[in-house]
Point group: none
Chain length 128, copies 4
Amino acid sequence: MITVDYMSKTPLYEQIADKFQLLILKGVIKPDDKMPSVRSLAVSLSINPNTIQKAYTTLEQSGYIYSVKGRGNFVAKTKDVKEQEKDKFTNDFKQLLIYGRDIGITKEECISLVDEILTKEDLQIDQT
Amino acid sequence: MITVDYMSKTPLYEQIADKFQLLILKGVIKPDDKMPSVRSLAVSLSINPNTIQKAYTTLEQSGYIYSVKGRGNFVAKTKDVKEQEKDKFTNDFKQLLIYGRDIGITKEECISLVDEILTKEDLQIDQT
Amino acid sequence: MITVDYMSKTPLYEQIADKFQLLILKGVIKPDDKMPSVRSLAVSLSINPNTIQKAYTTLEQSGYIYSVKGRGNFVAKTKDVKEQEKDKFTNDFKQLLIYGRDIGITKEECISLVDEILTKEDLQIDQT
Amino acid sequence: MITVDYMSKTPLYEQIADKFQLLILKGVIKPDDKMPSVRSLAVSLSINPNTIQKAYTTLEQSGYIYSVKGRGNFVAKTKDVKEQEKDKFTNDFKQLLIYGRDIGITKEECISLVDEILTKEDLQIDQT
DNA sequence: GTGGTCTAGACCACA
DNA sequence: GTGGTCTAGACCACA
């Protein structure tokens, strides 16, 4: 369900949180679905339970999951979360465009890039 | 000439390198211009000289500046540097678009964002 | 009669005990009334019987109910229980006021809050 | 500067975070003041550095401090944080009052309690 | 079984 | 020196 890259510079706990975030945002796992238990995921990824715990804590603080002691972690309702995520995207997008403009990228180039990339039909989950 | 944000999550050395990179790409400082000396910059920013040194080393490895022993650091010829920069932008742009698509941003929304932002006339350097 | 919130941070057994405590203090269930059996309540709330048992044990230790082997649990006489409750309230109230003062809440603000809230006429049980 | 209670049910990291939160809200330590280093505080409290780290991470996520790699943790600007804190107080206060009303506390009793407690002149930091 | 907290100790990036 | 990440392993509360 989830893979991590030990060579990557991004911390393991962040990779794990990011992967689940995407799965939740894309609706692959839905509200009130049970997350894998900390221990089981630790075993299947050969990662220390503490690291999984940290990833889950991060997800909880971001509102993606909620935890119930003795029962496990569960996917939270994603209504508001999705809006937040879109706002963040818009922000990043704006900053990148301004940077691009600064190094000489024209509006036309940007639009053709958008067109090129978002016209592809594949809608698979990006595992990067 | 350069300011840093101590509260930011990006390391000081990276902030400094990024700022100079932009100044060079935009032509504010030109090939063979002398960079401020490590010590003087360290003093004027009240930053550890090691940190400035690391920023300069980074810039040198990226081909933006070259160092001459005993004389200082100088801006390099930016022949294909600009091309590299554009490639990097294109890459970042693609990744961001794919992420956006994953969370449900449509092509039309992206294009209208591009249109909105790049139609403004101000061309000041963004200090974010 | 009773609902629980799985998303809440407070343990299920505590939520259950708190709910019954309120029902008893408000006189909704009266001395010597029979409490729902552990098993039936477990079924109707879809909760592990151990959890109900723990809630009942808590209530018994606080003096709100008493158990008779083979017959079930019953509401206890709430003679001075009410006094205890008031003392606890006074305590919590004091601590909160001191905290408020520490972060800059004035006496006048508190009084106007009290006035505002306790002037409303509705006296329904708050299910939060 | 800070003490912890090993017997308490509230986790050490939370006790530490709470203590600093109060010191910051009361202005005892001010924006851009340096926090004790993770390691030094760990030694002086005889607590594992990881636990201090967790307390600091909590404080950072709540906006009370910011961390600079290689330099340390510093107190953040508390403008907005104070407002949040007041909102939280108002909320807690309302809930407590409603609970009080449910168990038979009158408005007059509440007001006299407020009067009694907030009229004392002592303004020392509460170390509870 | 399941999450949460904590210690001990290591290693890395940054200043 | 200073914060951040991670492992190994223990113990507790809760269901």
